[in-house]
C-alpha cells in the first residue's frame, strides 16, 4: 500500500510525506520539505554584523525571537562582548513569551481540530468557543510581553547585538505582570484540556536532545545533553551532529553521527530536565499524572501544555528581577568566531 500526502496542512512550512507499506511493514518513508529554498546562509555572507538579527528574524513569522537571539548571541561571542545581566534576563522573557505563543498556536489551532476530526479552526465554533476565547486571552498577553520589550510581537526591533535599544516604563511592566498573573489559570486549564485528548499509544525509542544549564530550565544557552549521556558545549555541535542533504527534499536532515535521528522540542526537554521546571508546572503535571520519561511522541502536546504553565509563571517571576537601567550598547567590531545554539 502506498500513501502519499502532497501537502501537509497542519505545519508551518510546506511539506509532503510518502509511505510505502508492504504486508503491514513500513518499507519506505520519505518526508519531503518542498518549501522553496531561500538561501539565508548564502546571502548573509559579507553583510554588516548589525543587519544579521533583523534578516534572520524573517526565517519564520512564528519564532523570530529564537532566530534573532541566536544571531545576537553568536555575534556577541564572536565580538567578545558580554551582555549585561539585565539583557540576558530580558532575552529569556522574550524567548519564553514566544515559546508560549508558539505552543498555543500549535495546540489550539493545529492539534485540536485534528483530535476532534474537524476541518480547521473556523469549524470549532460554536462548540469550542470557550476554548478559542481562552486562546485569544492568553495569546494576547504573551504577545504583549514580546511587544513590550521588543517594540512589536513579530520581528521585534529593540533587541539588538549588545542589548536593548530602549526599555519600557515601570508601570507598563507592572501591568503586564498583573496580566500574566491573570492567565495562570487559563494555562492550567489548557493542560487539562490537552490531557483529555485521546492520544494514540506509541513507544518510540529515540534519542532525546536538549540544552541544559542547571539550576535553570535552560533557554538561550547551555550544554547539549541527551539521555544517552551526550554532554557537549555549544561549540562542539559538529563533533556529534551531522547535516545531510537529501535528494528529494529542500531541507537538510540532521542526525547524530554513527547513530540515527533524534528528537528535540518540548517532550525532549521535559524528559531531560523535568526537575528544573517551575514549581507551578511540576504541580500541574502531577495533577494530570504526567511522568517522565515519556516515550510517546504524541505526548509532545502534553509537554507543550506543561511548558505553557512553566513559561507564564517563569516570565512573571523574571519580571520581578528586571532592573531597568538605561541601555548602553558598546560594541567594538573585531575579527572572531562564535557558535551558539538556541
Amino acid at each position: 500500500m502506498k500513501i502519499s500526502i502532497d501537502y501537509i496542512a497542519r505545519v508551518e512550512g510546506e511539506g509532503a510525506i510518502k509511505f510505502d507499506i508492504e504486508d503491514g511493514v513500513l518499507k519506505d518513508l520519505k518526508l519531503n520539505i518542498w518549501e522553496p529554498p531561500r538561501f539565508f546562509e548564502g546571502f548573509l555572507c559579507n553583510r554588516r554584523y548589525d543587519e544579521v538579527p533583523d534578516i534572520v528574524a524573517r526565517i519564520c513569522g512564528i519564532c523570530p525571537v529564537s532566530h534573532m537571539t541566536t544571531a545576537i548571541r553568536a555575534l556577541e561571542k564572536a565580538l567578545g562582548f558580554t551582555p549585561a545581566p539585565d539583557s540576558i534576563t530580558l532575552r529569556k522573557v522574550m524567548a519564553l513569551s514566544q515559546i508560549v505563543s508558539s505552543h498555543l498556536v500549535h495546540l489550539y489551532m493545529l492539534a485540536l481540530p485534528d483530535y476532534y476530526r474537524l476541518y480547521s479552526i473556523p469549524d470549532m465554533f460554536p462548540r469550542f468557543e470557550p476554548e478559542i476565547r481562552r486562546l485569544n486571552r492568553m495569546k494576547k498577553v504573551v504577545n504583549e510581553v514580546t511587544a513590550l520589550f521588543g517594540g512589536r510581537a513579530l520581528h521585534p526591533v529593540s533587541m539588538v547585538v549588545g542589548g536593548f535599544t530602549s526599555l519600557p516604563p515601570r508601570d507598563k511592566i507592572e501591568k503586564i505582570k498583573y496580566e500574566l498573573e491573570n492567565i495562570k489559570d487559563d494555562a492550567k486549564e489548557t493542560l487539562r484540556m490537552v490531557s483529555d485528548l485521546l492520544f494514540p499509544d506509541l513507544t518510540h525509542n529515540t534519542e532525546y536532545v536538549a540544552i541544559s544549564s542547571p539550576p535553570h530550565y535552560a533557554i538561550n544557552e547551555g550544554f547539549i545533553i541527551s539521555q544517552n549521556g551526550v554532554k557537549i558545549g555549544e561549540d562542539e555541535y559538529y563533533s556529534i551532529f551531522k547535516e545531510d542533504e537529501v535528494s528529494y527534499s529542500n531541507a537538510k536532515r540532521t542526525v547524530i553521527k554513527g547513530k540515527d535521528s533524534f528528537m528535540v522540542g518540548a517532550l525532549a526537554r521535559l524528559n531531560l530536565k523535568f526537575d528544573l521546571l517551575h514549581e507551578d508546572a511540576k504541580e500541574a503535571a502531577e495533577e494530570i499524572g504526567f511522568k517522565v520519561p515519556d516515550y510517546n511522541p504524541f505526548h509532545n502536546n502534553l509537554a507543550q501544555a506543561i511548558e505553557i504553565v512553566h513559561g507564564i509563571s517563569e516570565c512573571r517571576e523574571l519580571l520581578d528581577k528586571v532592573i531597568l537601567r538605561k541601555p548602553e550598547i558598546g560594541i567594538k567590531v573585531r575579527e572572531g568566531e562564535g557558535r551558539v545554539l538556541q
Binding site: 522553496p36 520581528h155 526591533v157 542533504e245
Partner: protein, 213 residues
C-alpha cells in the same frame, strides 16, 4: 494551516498574496489566482518588494547556492521577484510583518466599494508627528526613514534605533539623495564590501526600472 473549506479552485472575491516568487510554478499559480479573483492584494514586503528572499539577487545564483548546498542538482530557484511583476495588483498591504491598518483599509474598502486609502508618505512624517528627535540628523544614525513608506508609526526611531526599511520604499523616494548623505557621514554607513548602506538594504526593490525606486 487554517481553512474554512469552501472552493479551493475559486472564484474568489478577494485574494491576499504573500511571499516572493522564486519558482516558476508559483508564477503559474499566481496567474491562475488572478484570473479567478475580483480583487488581488499583495500583502507583506516579500510580495511587494521581493523582501528578504530577494537579497540573493545581490550575488550570482550559483555563488549563493553553493554556500548552502553541496549538491545543487536537485535545488531549483529562479530570480526572485515581487508579484506585480507577474500580475496586476489592486493594492499593497505593506510591512514586515504587514500592518493591521492597511489590511483593514483594504478589506473595508472592498466591502464598501471605495478606493483603498493607503499611506503614501515617508516614515519621517509619522516620526515628526510623534515628536521624536531625528536620529539621522541629530545622532548620525543610518536611518532609512526618509525613503521608507509610512505605516509602522515610526516604530524603530521611537525605540531609539534607525529605521531599516521593513515597510519598503515609498513611491518616488529620493534614495540617491539619502545614499549621498550616508556616504558623507563616512565609514559607519558602509559595509565591508564598500557598498552604501541604503542600496544594500533588506527590503529594497531589486529590479531596475521598477515603479518605486
Amino acid at each position: 494551516m487554517v481553512t474554512s473549506g469552501g472552493t479551493p479552485e475559486g472564484p474568489f472575491d478577494v485574494s491576499l498574496i504573500e511571499g516572493t516568487v522564486t519558482k516558476s510554478w508559483q508564477a503559474d499559480e499566481l496567474k491562475r489566482i488572478r484570473e479567478k479573483s475580483t480583487y488581488l492584494f499583495a500583502i507583506g514586503s516579500c510580495a511587494i518588494n521581493g523582501g528578504i528572499p530577494a537579497l540573493k539577487s545581490t550575488h550570482p545564483e550559483l555563488e549563493v547556492g553553493k554556500k548552502v548546498y553541496q549538491d545543487l542538482s536537485t535545488i531549483h530557484s529562479i530570480r526572485p521577484s515581487s508579484i506585480d511583476a507577474y500580475v496586476h495588483v489592486d493594492g499593497f498591504i505593506r510591512g514586515c510583518p504587514p500592518g493591521e491598518r492597511d489590511l483593514c483599509e483594504a478589506l473595508t474598502s472592498v466591502l464598501s466599494g471605495k478606493q483603498p486609502d493607503f499611506l503614501e508618505y515617508s516614515v519621517c512624517i509619522e516620526c515628526k508627528l510623534k515628536g521624536n528627535i531625528c536620529l539621522l540628523v541629530a545622532h548620525n544614525m543610518p536611518c532609512m526613514g526618509p525613503v521608507t513608506n509610512a505605516g509602522c508609526e515610526a516604530l524603530c526611531p521611537s525605540h531609539n534605533r534607525a529605521c531599516y526599511s521593513c515597510w519598503g520604499p515609498m513611491r518616488q523616494a529620493n534614495a540617491f539623495a539619502l545614499a549621498k548623505k550616508f556616504e558623507a557621514y563616512g565609514d559607519i554607513f558602509r559595509g565591508h564590501n564598500q557598498e552604501v548602506y541604503s542600496i544594500r538594504f533588506c527590503h529594497c526593490r531589486v529590479q531596475k526600472g521598477s515603479r518605486v525606486l
